[in-house]
Subunit: 292 residues, 2 copies
């Protein structure tokens, strides 16, 4: 790929204008890295909202229309839908088009990209470590990418120049880019993202199966906060589990062993040990989130 | 105890004016169930804040001054401090005084009440299922008791009349009173309250022990939300663990088994099974919190 090609990348296309996709479109438009941002959503109302909010320059009636016009196409739907689009959109993609996604798991998507995308189209997996809770916003907003890690997962078909260019684009949104291979990505996010999503599931089943009839009357703020993730998008999370089953199951089993170890310490009932246990966790939290 | 005695209960005393104690004082004052609410906190600044906010009628310089004047004395400190107060305050309590607490565990406190309180003083354990997160408020407020379950745990020394009277007082705050024995209480709250507090501890240790150097850069909103409880008051929670070690360890072990069961289902990677798993958890959450 030449410098000439690079200069011709003027049009971004975003398919899927939910929270993450609409925020990405808004961030791309604000950054000015590309001169035009097109959008499509299978729900016309979502497309209209993104257009009315100024997150995109134009919306189209079909995914194919965006895909055919884009120099950088970003698929922002649940993982299995991304894989569906890779099959459907191949025929309309022009050579040199960069096809990215921001799906939650990367092995399944990047393998599908390499297998399904026509020759000349350049695939690149992506996964921004951000979301509604991160930025403290619930409506799509360009700021959700600012200061957040954006993981890029190249495939064997991703050339160096494209990786560099995409890194620059994501950095222009304020993101901090890290490059990892898809398998390493999937293991890491199983621990930091998928495992936390799953913790309420066994907690709710434990509560539901409790023999004491008073139990359902007692859950208050603490229980509610600890289980609220159980209501997060089923479509998205079923896709995550199906496409990352091995690493998620491994992380759940490692977690179960860690829970057993905590149970052993609690059972001893020793004040000094238990204070150290809680103080260590508190310190670890503050170290991760830079809060003294 | 006679109706005459009952009419003479005019003064409430609250020892410990943190979030829960100050909110209880405010709720008692607003309800008018007793004509005067006295308060004490070992930190003079906390006492002054409660007085300035109008949560109490008066503050005193010592716990003994509140205890000697109160008809209903409520100890609102961490559990082990409650037990300390039961020893210290015995000599100043007048016969007929009702001594309650709102500590998080009840077996240790009620056993100490029965052992340490002078004859003629009536003990009663209490535990409101509420807190800062429940009411959506972070400053003390009378409303934190409204519509919430208030568990009362009588001891062998609690007479029926006192239990009825205290039930009425707590209902006058808008609380829904349930009466349980202390051991049943401790097992129930181990599941609905103490277990959720502990879930971040093994999650943070798993992340800290992960061999991949990139991991610490990745935790985002989901991980943060799932582990934030690790920063909740160490003093209070060490007390909870020490005084409820057996039930908490049991609930952790039951949870670890439930996590293993979820891991087995995830490992299969079957879309239909996994959708049912997540949908069940979602439904259980909505059933508990009355949200369709």
């Amino acid at each position: 790929m030449t410098q000439g090609n690079q200069r011709e990348r003027t049009t971004a296309g975003v398919i899927g204008l939910g929270f993450m996709g609409a925020s990405l479109a808004a961030a791309l438009r604000r950054s000015g890295s590309l001169t035009r941002v097109l959008g499509y959503d299978s729900e016309p109302a979502a497309a209209k909202r993104a257009l009315d909010a100024g997150f995109v320059d134009e919306v189209t009636d079909s995914a194919a229309a965006v895909a055919g016009a884009a120099d950088l196409l970003v698929l922002c739907t649940p993982v299995q839908r991304i894989i569906g689009y890779l099959t459907e959109l191949g025929p309309v993609l022009r050579p040199g088009t960069v096809v990215m996604d921001i799906g939650s798991t990367k092995h399944a998507v990047t393998a599908a990209m390499d297998e399904l995308l026509p020759a000349g189209v350049v695939p690149l997996g992506g996964h921004p470590m951000t979301g509604p809770a991160t930025a403290g916003v619930t409506e799509p907003d360009a700021v959700v990418y600012e200061g957040r890690v954006f993981l890029l997962t190249p495939t064997p078909r991703t050339d160096e120049e494209t990786l560099r260019w995409c890194t620059g684009v994501m950095e222009s949104l304020g993101a901090r880019v890290e490059v990892v291979d898809p398998e390493r990505h999937d293991r890491l996010v199983a621990v930091v993202s998928h495992l936390p999503r799953m913790l309420p599931v066994p907690l709710l089943s434990l509560a539901a199966d409790d023999p004491d009839p008073m139990l359902p009357h007692l859950p208050a703020g603490g229980f509610r906060e600890s289980t609220r993730k159980a209501t997060e998008s089923l479509d998205m999370w079923v896709d995550v589990l199906v496409t990352n089953a091995g690493p998620v199951a491994d992380s759940l089993r490692a977690y179960a062993r860690a829970v057993e170890a905590v149970a052993d310490q609690v059972a001893e009932g020793d004040q000094t040990t238990l204070r150290a246990l809680l103080a260590d966790a508190d310190q670890r939290w503050r170290a991760l989130f830079d809060q003294p």
